[in-house]
Symmetry: C2
Subunit: 183 residues, 2 copies
């Protein structure tokens, strides 16, 4: 039982039961240990949440940005980003639990992640020739669509009943998220 085991379990619980579900004693039961283990690896619950947030930023921001760093064509970069972002729908679940959280520390982490993502998007849209203000609008639209998809799939799974339907929907996203001049 390592510190990383706890952080991963916390991130999973976050996606399934929300931030309130990241509770020491229930997690301990699920992992088959007691609180004694937890308080050996962590100072308190805040530290666990912080570790889960750090893990999330790695998986959700650092990895994708690194994977797309060497794609020169901005339109192709955006298309691949769409593909990566919607690749595993289960990853979307932790997203909204975090984005909807009202705890100040979580909000700070979410704001940081969002700022990095928006920066990446604005850069791509600018390379497509969009002026700054419009590039920011396109970036905001893309972010909103992405974040909202997690909420939508939770509320209405029937909008993408099959894998094929989901992929078709993502293609539709990709089409609406590129300026007409760049398709």
């Amino acid at each position: 039982m390592t510190r990383e085991d706890w952080a991963d379990a916390a991130l999973a619980a976050l996606g399934e039961r929300g931030l309130a579900g990241v509770a020491v004693e229930p997690l301990a039961r699920a992992l088959g240990v007691t609180k004694g283990s937890f308080y050996w690896h962590f100072k308190d619950r805040r530290e666990l949440v912080a570790a889960a947030l750090a893990r999330w930023e790695e998986l959700a921001v650092d990895a994708p940005i690194a994977a797309l760093a060497e794609v020169d064509d901005p339109a192709e970069r955006l298309r691949r980003l769409v593909a990566i972002a919607w690749e595993r729908p289960e990853h979307l679940r932790a997203e909204q639990a975090l984005a909807a959280a009202s705890e100040p520390e979580v909000a700070r982490a979410v704001a940081h992640v969002t700022a990095r993502r928006l920066e990446f998007l604005v850069q791509a849209y600018r390379e497509l020739g969009e002026p700054p203000a419009r590039a920011r609008q396109w970036a905001a639209t893309a972010m909103a669509t992405y974040l909202g998809t997690g909420l939508l799939l939770r509320a209405a799974p029937e909008v993408a009943p099959t894998d094929a339907a989901f992929r078709a929907l993502v293609r539709h996203f990709a089409a609406t998220l590129l300026p007409a001049s760049s398709r």
Copy 2:
């Protein structure tokens, strides 16, 4: 102190502190009364959440649909819907708290509301001449964008620093959410 006062306070708390913030004793303190008042008007906390959800459906679904019932042109109906939906950003806050909730009863209510909204959207896109599958994709895109805007404004308020910028962003939404053939 009426039942409606409690339901409104619950809905407000939902937007500010999430579903976990809809707690009887803190609400009572905020309202300047005690639990005695609450348990006079309600059986238990579940009933309060149900009342808040019902209030939400009225404000967020029944009212807009009624207001748009007599707009014959579907493109104009969608444009007005965008204007109404993003009219008061503070209303967006309760949205994602609800949509991200993991409680089954809340999920059911959210699913019901989402289904009604999607039905309304699909109908409009079909009237625009889109075939069924594409109409559903457009509807899903519009819903995702709407839901995601709440999350985005919370995570990155700087994407719409002024009222003018926010209105410009909403105009951008309206443009991307209409098929090119219907602009």
